[in-house]
């Protein structure tokens, strides 16, 4: 989440004080991304230094109102149109755990997949409670929670696919397990 750009977006609606920016940021992200007021002022100072916002008023920071500059508006619209970096993390811990489990004798990989599946779905239930409690009209919160839910659902789908793929593997006999040469797991290729 880019806090500077979120603040620029809020200032695009009109000049605001730092405290107001903090409370609007939190309510518009469904209170899922809390932001402390110190972080708001530090960010505003940087934006001011870069000419993207300007302060009105004198004295203490809480007395200053900030407004977006035309350079700030250009920066915001550029940022909104720029696709975010979708490169996956270099090592997905869950994928590594499952790959490692395949090499460890005596581990029931299906059970392991189920442990992770249950954990992910329990987390999804908690996010859904947040959405249910807020009601359908709270669209910003629904958008934030949906993003998390669909990210988690992708993990469940990966676990389901892994389950089916592993089920199709012929079960190794005990002899095969003992005699099988140890082979290093192929390193995962990560797209640049």
């Amino acid at each position: 989440m880019s806090v500077p750009h979120a603040l620029l977006a809020l200032l695009r609606q009109g000049p605001k004080y730092g405290l107001r920016l903090q409370s609007e940021f939190e309510s518009r992200t469904g209170d899922v991304w809390p932001l402390n007021v110190g972080q708001v002022y530090t960010t505003l100072q940087r934006l001011e230094r870069d000419g993207l916002v300007e302060a009105t008023g004198e004295g203490e920071r809480s007395r200053k109102r900030y407004r977006i500059t035309s350079a700030g508006e250009r920066e915001l619209s550029q940022w909104l149109g720029n696709p975010p970096d979708l490169v996956p993390p270099p090592r997905d811990e869950l994928v590594i755990k499952v790959l490692v489990a395949l090499q460890v004798p005596g581990i029931d990989v299906h059970e392991l997949l189920q442990v992770h599946r249950r954990h992910v779905i329990e987390t999804m239930q908690r996010y859904t409670q947040v959405k249910a409690a807020a009601g359908e009209e709270d669209v910003p919160l629904a958008l934030v929670v949906d993003a998390e839910l669909f990210r988690l659902e992708a993990i469940v789908r990966w676990l389901d696919a892994a389950d089916v793929r592993l089920k199709r593997l012929p079960s190794p006999t005990p002899t095969e397990v003992v005699d099988a040469p140890l082979e290093p797991t192929r390193p995962m290729e990560v797209s640049p």
Partner: protein, 241 residues
């Protein structure tokens, strides 16, 4: 307290000899009133079989199925049909509303088939449509209703009267995720008003609307979620960034 639905060591076998298929193995499952349970599992895991046996649409090969404490195996065939009509509501993937009947008539029909007098049946049906916020569409035919309204009428038909058990097999069908969520919200609301609900789904974001998620694999219940703590815990821990 009597559970709205209880499956005790339920097994289901289709065919015999080499062609025998065991769809369910010793399944134990209890569902209470005001509880929504989602059943998840891969294709062929026994989800739909579990639902049809719970709804008395087919018989278990062994084990007991109790609806409101009544063991379905101990009652006559006609009493079982009566129990099925009076206590159990079904929601299907494509809603299955009868096109020649209005919304009100669709919801009234199961009661009238059960011998409820027309006026009483219409009153109950109107109550159910009101609960689902579609009472103002009562006189419309299914093809005059939006997709969302048809869903609501189908759920009203499933909960009309004294039905205490609501069974839904992939009720969100081919709906997009937001409309699918709408169906889950309605099912959740219905259960919170005192009905027990069981919904089969393969989509985790829809299953997460349930109070409990039960996992089936190869006909066995292999796991279930534990009651999730409140949403506050999420915001206090992992959700805070």
């Amino acid at each position: 307290m009597t559970s709205a639905l209880e499956l005790r060591q339920v097994s289901k076998v289709y065919g015999s000899g080499p062609s025998e298929v065991r769809a369910l193995h010793d399944v134990d499952l209890s569902v209470e009133r005001e509880e929504l349970v989602a059943v998840m599992g891969p294709s062929g895991s026994g989800k739909s079989t579990l639902l049809t046996i719970a709804g008395s649409l087919e018989e278990a090969s062994s084990g007991q199925v109790l609806v409101d404490g009544i063991d379905l195996a101990t009652v006559s065939r006609s009493d079982r049909s009566k129990l099925r009509r009076r206590s159990i509501g079904y929601v299907f993937q494509d809603f299955n509303l009868l096109p020649g009947l209005t919304a009100l008539e669709n919801v009234t029909l199961p009661l009238e088939l059960d011998g409820v007098r027309a006026r009483a049946a219409r009153t109950s049906a109107r109550d159910a449509l009101e609960q689902l916020d579609v009472a103002d569409r009562a006189d419309r035919f299914p093809d005059e209703l939006s997709g969302g309204e048809r869903q609501r009428v189908a759920i009203a038909r499933a909960i009309v009267g004294e039905r205490g058990l609501l069974l839904a097999d992939e009720p969100t069908g081919a709906l997009d995720s937001v409309n699918g969520e709408g169906v889950m919200r309605l099912l959740r609301d219905a259960t919170q008003r005192g009905v027990a609900g069981v919904v089969v789904t393969h989509e985790a974001h829809l299953a997460s609307w349930a109070d409990r998620v039960v996992f089936l694999r190869d006909g066995h219940v292999v796991d279930q979620t534990v009651a999730p703590p409140g949403p506050e815990s999420l915001l206090a821990a992992g959700g805070r960034r």
